[in-house]
Structure formats: structure tokens, C-alpha cells
Point group: C2
Chain length 459, copies 2
């Protein structure tokens, strides 16, 4: 059996078999029917002509949208518009039909309703296209980093360090929560828990990733991460996938190059492989998205420091909701103004004030800023955040002291600075944000197969 | 800067820069030193000649194993054995040294000790080689399935179905375990938990994967899965990565072909790309592993039914610890006898008794066996388990009734059989078992970066 994706003009004239699901059916009075079949392998389906010569033509005529079929016949040139070939069916095997209770036959359905049937929604044009593009971005991610000799690293999901500090965490336990064992202080006795201590789901693989970069050179993680924040917005998931490369001997400049090249590689990859899916997004979801991705594939990605960015923002006449001054965290409105109004392309902002960034970022000589970088894109603002890491043990210990972090909790992380410390850098990208950016989908819940959000872990 | 992996004879004569860690140093009386440098990009390092012309030669002489350096100089042909070129250093930048407290300078260290320093162990020959092979197997997995038009699918990690039945599960919560909210029955009130119900970590992405296969055709997952079993063995992890392809319109035969082709692709890929790492395993970890992988890359993978396998085992004179008769689950000793003694190659056993297999496997016409398959390999026994899935709604409901499963808990799974049901099949492979098989490492904790096992979630 062939996939619809595998068909091309060279196969015209051949006898082939296909299988898929019925999208639409038109019965003609002349004793034949047009079946539009899709098998999920590509946006486009194929038109199949069924006629009374089929043994089971009456059964075929009674099929509903969503019925599953195996079709055998001859691939012929099509006289119809918008398709170059069609299948003249010689036999149709009916695997299964549907009935009136099937959700996906009632015309266009809004995304909210589809989300309630997340097990069926991949059968629609829109979610099918999203998931193919998501797959392409996953493939591009692996290809890009493998080509540059980054090793795919599987960092742990369950972690006993509650010190990552990047957000609220989910607890993982095997204790009986109705009757947990208690210690002398009448608190839950985590020594009796599965791992012998309190454990959580990871919020980032970075610290673990650094350990392997400081030995194998270049690594990247691509795995699930978790936030137990009660944010019920179209931009937040409780479970999402992150891409986190980390490279020994990369300083801030190489890190910025890597981030830019990675994004451009992703955009190009989608443009080259997913034309039909993008065409759909361009028509129905975000007008102009193809031009946007083409433009970004060739963009320079302007680089400026945070200090320069603040000066530029202070100079404009634009009234921001949050007034700009040196020291503030840039808000979405500022990020968008930089990319959309001033530079009209992505901007990599570097060297942020140390007080608004994480403890592990490398201190600049000015002792006020750190070697952080954010990649800002039009429409969405920050898509990548990263930094060169502090490789100097004393400076890192100083910084931890200021922030009241206990060095003992980080002894293994500090060992990287004790033994053969090297300059190294990395960044993180929220994979679903990238999928949103490349599809135009406005709700993040529609770009992951089964979204997890507050009060929702269905399927 | 170049990676050591990127060096070849064509660069001899060029001035280049490298960076890495010092593995060994030999100071000659003639006023020069040989430094063996490794950067993690390949098993082989490079020999660097440093001499008194360097400004900081005295500092270089005081370096310990593990020191981190940037080296600039000319790549020259090497007179030494076992290396074709070496670097004549013109400058050496010392990033960091180590001291006597550094674990990795004291000769060969056993794997148990290394496990206690999982943040440093990737700097050793053995674990470095394991992690490069692991990466190669990850790359091969993505390449294999992408080439065959399988979409990479990210199935959820947090799940509210406690009905997967494949093993004990970890609970995920944000409730305060010291003072959880209680309901009228004085039980923990999970309505107040983050997701509004009791949730766990997934034990398999299969059921979710089926939903997407029954719409997009071919998918594969490659993600972490969890077992809360208190098994402290060299074969079990509490957190491990699984590869689970699922394909619409694949019956048992195509599923077996896919499993065989996937394994052979992995073996070939490692042989082609990881010669130096495999050489090390062949010498130090498992004699003959290269020949083993070469043989398996060309093996036929014999197929027999469970019933035939039982007959063959009953006929032998071999005394098994667990006597063989139709209906038993095959034990490791039986699996190994089949592959190592009878067939001397991998064996795909199909059509197991329904009572020892999962509810979702397709019933054969004999009503006694199901379309299950296990791929058995010499040494390790089962490496892949899978099946064709039951696509007939009534048969599936019957089976669930027999097993006292509540159809309401599976309504979305049953929908796949209600609406356009299709024959479909898939399998699961425990990724760490594959890495063990391709490296010869005997303890599964040494083939994953940071192992999670009972009482251990360090780092």
C-alpha cells in the first residue's frame, strides 16, 4: 500500500492500493460517486471514482464522512481542477463506517469544541496540518543539532533538586496521600517515599545538560518540562516540550549565532517541506504567514545590548503601559516595538541587568550586567532565552550568596567549576511557541496533541 | 574552533584551534611535553606537543588530568603509532585546572563509584562512549521513522487514566501533603488538586498514540515513561525512554517487518558511525560485540508462532527452571534457548495466548490467541513487544468485560472503533535496553545520563 504523500505523476497508469478515511462524497446520477480520501500523510487527499461495476457500490454509497477504506485501482490523470491525478477504483474494502453521532461531519467546528475531542481532532484539516508541521519542526530540530555535532541528551524528568527556581513544581510521590507516614514532627516522612526524599517534575534540563556539555562538548535536550502555575491563558501549558542546547567553549556570540541559525533552519525546513499545510494556514489562520517565514529565513537578526534597547525605547514617542527605564524587565509591548517598529525583524538583545536574570549567568566586567540573550520575534516577543554561564567558581559563589542560595544544594553543579571549568553557553526554546509561530495558531492548546492545563488532564 | 571529530588528514599543515580536557600528560626531559586532549566529540583524542617556546610552559607543566584548555597551533603528521596527526602547540590558553580532590585522575574507576558522580562520569572513556552511541541510536530512531513517513508524536506525560494497567504508577500532585484538603468521606479531595482529579506519570504512550495513528496514519513516540516498582536490579529503571510506533493499516506481518527493519537499521547505523566507540566496547566490555552487531544487521529474524515455539521447547532435552507448556508466559531462559540454541539469531514470536497478553490485542479466529509479537534477541530475550490492535468494537468490549474493565474509562479509546475503525498495529521498545545491547553495558544505570531508581534521584 502507498501513502497519498508518495503519489506523483510518475505513477499515473499504475495499479495501486491506498487506504484512508472518507472526507466527502458526491453521488452522481450517472451511477458513479466521487470520494475524497485523506490518509493523514499530507494535507491533500485524493479523489477516487467509484462506480456500479464495484460489487459493493450500494455499500459505498451509504458511507458517511469518516468511514475507513482500502482502495485499489488505477491512478489516472485527472480532468478536474486543482488535482493532477485521481484513482479509478476497481475494489473498495470498507473497514468501518461512522454514524450520525460522529462529531466531525457537521461542517466547520471551532477549536474549543475540537479540544474536547482531542482524540479525534487530528482528523481535521487544521489540527492535521498543525501536527505535520510540528513533526517537521521536531525533525528539523534533531537534524540541525546533529549536523552540528550536538549529542541528543535525555536529562531526567523526576528531580530531587527543588532549587531550579524557574517556576512552581509538581510533586511526584508513591506515598498513600490519605495516610502518609509521618515523622517525629508530624510532617510527611519523605524518607519513606519512593526516592527517599521529596521529588518533583523538572522545570528545565539545563543544569543537568551543563554537566554533559562540560565533558562531551555539545549536547541538546528535547523533552517535556512542567510548570504547576495556575495560568489559564492561551499561552501557557502545564506540560510542554523544550529544546535546550548547551555547548562547551561557546561564548555569548557563538550562542547568539546558534540561536539565529537554529530558528532560520526551522523556518526554511517548514517552507521547503510543508507547502500545502502552510498554504492552509496562510488562507485560514494567519494571512501572510508564508511571506513572514520567508522573510525571517533570510533576516539578519539584529543584535543590540539591553542598554541600547532601553535607550532606543526611551527615545520614542510611543506611550507604553509599562514605562521604560534601565533595570526593568522588558515587557511584551517593548519587545514587539523593538522588532515590529524599530528593526522590523528579529532582534537578539544581550547583556541584561543581573538583577532580573538567573544566578548562573556570567557576570560582565561592568559587574552590573550578565551575558544573557533573548531572541525576540515580531508578534510574539521572546522565543528564545539563554546565556553564557558563569564558569568562575568564586563569582558564582558570590552571586549565590547574594541570592541566599545554599552552595551545598548545588555541589555537583559547582564541581563543573572546580574541575576543568570551561566557558559554556546555551539557551532554551519552548517548542510549542515555535509551532505556534510557524502555524499562526493563536491558542497553544491547539499545537500539542493532548494539552495539560489547570483542571484538565483528559485523555 | 574545530572539534577533534572534524579533523582529518586534509587539514595537516593548517593552523587550527581546538579546545578540550587534558587526559594524560608526559613531560620529557628535553623541555617538551605530550598532552593527550579529548573534547568529547569522539573516542579518540589528539596528541599535542607543548614546549618551552610557550610563554606559559611552566603553567602547562603544572596541569592535572581534567584541566581545560584552548590550543592553537599547526596540525602535523605524527610519527607516533596509532595516530595519524598531532598538534604542535603555538599557544595554550588554560581555562581551568583540577586538584588532588578530582575523582577522575586515579586510574580506572569502577562503574558503581562513577554512578555516585554521575555529573562527572561522562568525562570517562566508557561513559563518554556509551553516551555517543546512545545519541547515535536516538538519531537512528528519528531517521528511520521519519524516512518511512512516521510523524514524531509527543504524547502526554501526566495522565489521569489510571487504567493503562502496565505497572505501578507515580502520583503527581500540587496538594500540600502535610495538610491535604479532605472530602466528606475524610479522603483526600482530588477535585482540589491541580488537574481536578488524581493524576499519574504515564507508563506508555500507546493508547494516545493510537488516536493519532487513526487519523494521521503513522506516528511514533520517543519519550520518557515511568514505573514505580520497587525493583532494585541491573535491568530496571524507574524512569526510562520508550520508542512506540503505531501505524494505521499495518497488520501483524507489516508490524513484524517494521520491528525487524528498525533494529537492523539501528545496528547498521552504530556500526557505520561509531567504530571507535564500538572498538572500545569490544575490547573492554563485551568481547565480540562488533561481530554480533554485524551478524544481526544481516539476520533474517526467524518468525514462529508461540504455539510452534512451545512445541520446539517441549521437544528439547534441556531442563528449564520453569517447565514449558502451552499457556505459560515465556521466561528469559526459554527466550534465550530459542534464539541462542535453536535458531542462533533473533526470533519474532507471534500469536500468544490471549490470557497472558493485554486486552487491546486483536483476537485471532481461534479465539485462543491474539496477534501479539515479541522480538527476542540472543543474550537479552525480549527487546520489543507489540501487537495488532483489536479494531472490532464488539470484540474489544467483550474482552474488557471479561477482564472487568469499565468501558466508560475508555470511551475515547473505544471511539476509535466506533468511527472509521481501521486495522492498526504498533510496538514498544525500551530504549535503554537497546543501548545496553549495542554497548554491552551490563547495568542499565550506566546507559542513561542520570538514572532514577528506588531511593535514588540524585542530580
Amino acid at each position: 500500500m502507498l501513502l497519498i504523500k508518495e503519489l506523483d505523476k510518475s505513477k499515473v497508469g499504475e495499479s495501486i492500493s491506498l487506504a484512508g478515511w472518507l472526507r466527502t462524497k458526491r453521488d452522481s446520477k450517472g451511477g458513479f460517486s466521487f470520494l475524497e480520501i485523506n490518509d493523514g500523510s499530507s494535507f491533500k487527499g485524493i479523489q477516487v471514482i467509484a462506480d456500479q461495476n464495484l460489487d459493493n457500490y450500494d455499500d459505498v454509497k451509504s458511507l458517511h464522512t469518516g468511514a475507513s477504506l482500502k482502495l485499489t485501482g488505477k491512478l489516472v490523470e485527472s480532468p478536474g481542477k486543482g488535482q493532477s491525478f485521481e484513482l479509478q477504483a476497481e475494489s473498495i474494502l470498507i473497514y468501518g463506517n461512522t454514524d450520525q453521532s460522529y462529531l466531525l461531519q457537521k461542517g466547520r467546528i471551532n477549536f474549543e469544541t475540537l479540544r474536547e475531542s482531542a482524540h479525534l481532532r487530528c482528523r481535521t484539516n487544521s489540527i492535521g496540518a498543525v501536527m505535520r508541521v510540528r513533526n517537521q519542526l521536531s525533525k528539523a530540530t534533531h537534524d540541525f543539532f546533529q549536523n552540528r555535532h550536538f549529542l541528543n541528551l535525555h536529562t531526567p524528568i523526576i528531580t530531587a533538586s527543588d532549587c531550579e527556581g524557574a517556576g512552581q513544581m509538581f510533586q511526584v510521590t508513591t506515598l498513600d496521600m490519605d495516610k502518609p507516614p509521618k515523622n517525629d514532627l508530624n510532617k510527611v516522612d519523605y524518607k519513606k517515599d519512593f526516592f527517599g526524599k521529596k521529588t518533583h517534575l523538572t522545570v528545565s534540563g539545563q543544569l543537568n545538560g551543563e554537566t554533559y556539555a562540560c565533558g562531551l562538548g555539545r549536547i541538546y535536550t528535547f523533552g517535556p518540562t512542567f510548570r504547576a502555575e495556575n495560568s489559564n491563558t492561551s499561552r501557557h501549558l502545564s506540560e510542554f516540550w523544550m529544546v535546550e542546547p548547551e555547548a562547551a567553549f561557546f561564548e555569548l556570540e557563538e550562542n547568539a549565532d546558534l540561536a539565529r541559525d537554529y530558528l532560520k533552519y526551522c523556518f526554511k525546513s517548514v517552507l521547503e517541506t510543508s507547502a500545502d499545510d502552510l498554504e492552509f494556514f496562510d488562507q485560514r489562520i494567519e494571512k501572510g504567514i508564508i511571506t513572514k517565514l520567508e522573510t525571517l529565513s533570510d533576516a539578519e537578526f539584529t543584535r543590540i545590548t539591553y542598554t541600547e534597547a532601553v535607550k532606543l525605547l526611551e527615545k520614542t514617542d510611543k506611550k507604553f503601559e509599562f514605562p521604560v527605564k534601565w533595570g526593568i524587565d522588558l515587557q511584551s509591548e517593548h519587545e514587539r516595538y523593538l522588532t515590529e517598529e524599530i528593526f522590523k525583524q528579529p532582534v537578539i538583545v544581550t547583556d541584561y541587568p543581573k538583577d532580573i536574570k538567573a544566578f548562573y549567568m556570567k557576570l560582565n566586567d561592568d559587574e552590573k550586567t550578565v551575558r544573557a540573550l533573548d531572541v525576540l520575534c515580531p508578534q510574539i516577543g521572546e522565543i528564545i532565552g539563554g546565556s553564557q554561564r558563569e564558569e568562575n567558581l568564586d563569582l558564582l559563589l558570590n552571586r549565590m550568596k547574594t541570592l541566599d542560595l545554599n552552595p551545598e544544594d548545588y555541589s555537583w553543579y559547582l564541581d563543573l567549576r572546580r574541575y576543568g571549568s570551561v566557558p559554556h553557553s546555551g539557551f532554551g526554546l519552548g517548542f510549542e511557541r515555535l509551532v505556534q509561530f510557524c502555524t499562526g495558531m493563536s491558542n497553544i492548546r491547539d499545537v500539542i496533541p493532548f494539552p495539560r492545563t489547570p483542571k484538565n488532564a483528559k485523555f
